[in-house]
Symmetry: C2
Subunit: 313 residues, 2 copies
């Protein structure tokens, strides 16, 4: 039986798994912490791959990593926490080492592919996937095709301006969705409001997380609830534009912040309705949360391998 | 020799042309004013088609019309100035009348297809086309595929918010690009500023057009120049986002306002640079104006016929 080796290079975990060519249940799966990967990252990665490398034939290695990356050349342009991997030909190096084809994709794009093939987006042809977490990322399938652009840098959906002159994004541009509605942005808003004298059961502190804010909101804290209404309002404004731009039949929300459920989804949907140019964009539109949890990256890498292998003929 | 009949239903002109299957020079071309099309529009259209209908075989009829339209069903949802064409199965009716396949596409999408196949976008695989005219519309080709979405309503690029709470768009949402940077929006800004006491060689009047403003700007009028800098700034802000979303290798500006040349293109490019998240989006990016002029619609319809016929096998 031939297999596919999937790799997910995440912010906290480095995961590798072996999947049967015709299945989605991993034969083996391994992970290690991805912190402290300043040195010898490639050697650590291959050591981990070696532990799961099967005896039989491997059709491909397929890797997902936070971008920017170039999926056409398999090169990592740069990736958070691994400074050594700058303009780094990861796919080529893996292909050489293991003598099989190796593919590289952007993590948010692969999560979108995973949800489309095996999760919440099954059966749809036009999918907008938005992950709201430490950052905000996106992946889009249009007429059964992943949108990648000329150089693999498309669908950076967190980097649209929702509040001109607003908070400066990690990318340097003011007012981006990511700077206003990501998990850290939600926590920062609460901290700022408390510093300004707002009453809350939360205490202002640097380690405050969106999860803490969600907990407080569930206990009825007004400031915490407002923080989600505010973030959801901006997310809904951006999603309305993504509907005008991509006209999908489903919008899938992934990432930790989406797990706050109605707390964030209600204000998102309310804002989408307010900002949509024509209600026909909402007719029949499914709005849902991601289904695959923390294996979205691995399953996305698996989906990527199938797509690339079928293109290679 | 087999031919394709192309039809462009425009705001001022209704054009029909016969193209050879393997060429872009029309064998015959006819047009009539499209004003006053309240009644008997289909009969007027078929009368015009009859005047150019060839004796030999016709492979397809291909129509472009302002949307919203559904390209999959060939139905006009609604189109400006023709109230009778609401949920109107135009492609089906034409196909029945002439006994050939008939296709329908959104005018901005077809202009994008035309420029990609026969104009400024030739040789590119990822194209963003933006038309700045009475309204602002868009068309996008990604990896050699026109982006249409699940229901043909994608790439409404004029309907993105660039100024939350700003002027209300024709669609009802405040702050859309179209409401701030279209030709009429540029003229309205100048009128408002003159009413507020600003000095200009222009006189405030309802018939003031963006073309008048461009003329004044070329004569050195400060207010007129500022109006283009302002509009271009907002267009550049939106285009930077389209680069983050589509990562094209070329951006093509069509429509009357684009013909103002550097007057509008300089502020657009300056704003794009200011609003881009990473300069790699601009590396190798071509920025240009449309080449096909007022036959973009017909040539887009021709390109659409070729794509649809090749899909039909």
């Amino acid at each position: 039986m031939s297999v596919i080796v999937a790799i997910d290079i995440g912010g906290t975990q480095l995961r590798v798994a072996v999947y049967p060519r015709n299945g989605t249940t991993p034969i083996t799966i391994q992970h290690t912490a991805s912190r402290g990967m300043e040195d010898g990252v490639f050697e650590r990665l291959t050591a981990l791959i070696d532990t799961i490398w099967p005896k039989g034939p491997v059709d491909a290695i397929s890797v997902g990593a936070p971008g920017p990356i170039n999926p056409y050349t398999g090169t990592i342009i740069s990736t958070p926490n691994i400074p050594a991997w700058t303009h780094y030909p990861l796919a080529e190096l893996l292909s050489k080492q293991y003598q099989v084809p190796a593919y590289l994709g952007n993590d948010a794009n692969l999560a979108a592919l995973g949800e489309w093939n095996y999760g919440a987006g099954q059966g749809h042809h036009d999918v907008v996937y938005l992950t709201i977490s430490t950052g905000i990322g996106g992946g889009v399938i249009s007429s059964d095709m992943l949108i990648e652009g000329c150089c693999g840098m498309a669908t950076e959906l967190g980097h649209v301006i929702v509040l001109p002159g607003g908070p400066v994004c990690s990318c340097g541009v003011p007012g981006h969705l990511e700077a206003i509605a990501s998990g850290p942005a939600i926590a920062r808003y609460v901290n700022e409001q408390i510093a300004d004298g707002r009453v809350s059961i939360l205490r202002s502190r640097t380690e405050l997380s969106a999860r803490d804010v969600a907990e407080a909101a569930k206990q009825g804290d007004e400031l915490a609830k407002e923080a989600f209404v505010r973030a959801g309002g901006f997310i809904g404004q951006a999603v309305a534009e993504f509907l005008h731009i991509f006209n999908p039949s489903i919008v899938i929300f992934g990432g930790g912040v989406s797990q706050s459920g109605r707390l964030i989804l209600d204000p998102i949907e309310e804002s989408m309705k307010r900002n949509i140019m024509d209600k026909s964009y909402l007719e029949g539109l499914q709005i849902t949360t991601a289904k695959l949890g923390d294996v979205a990256g691995l399953l996305g890498a698996l989906a990527q391998a199938h797509i690339r292998l079928s293109k290679a003929g």
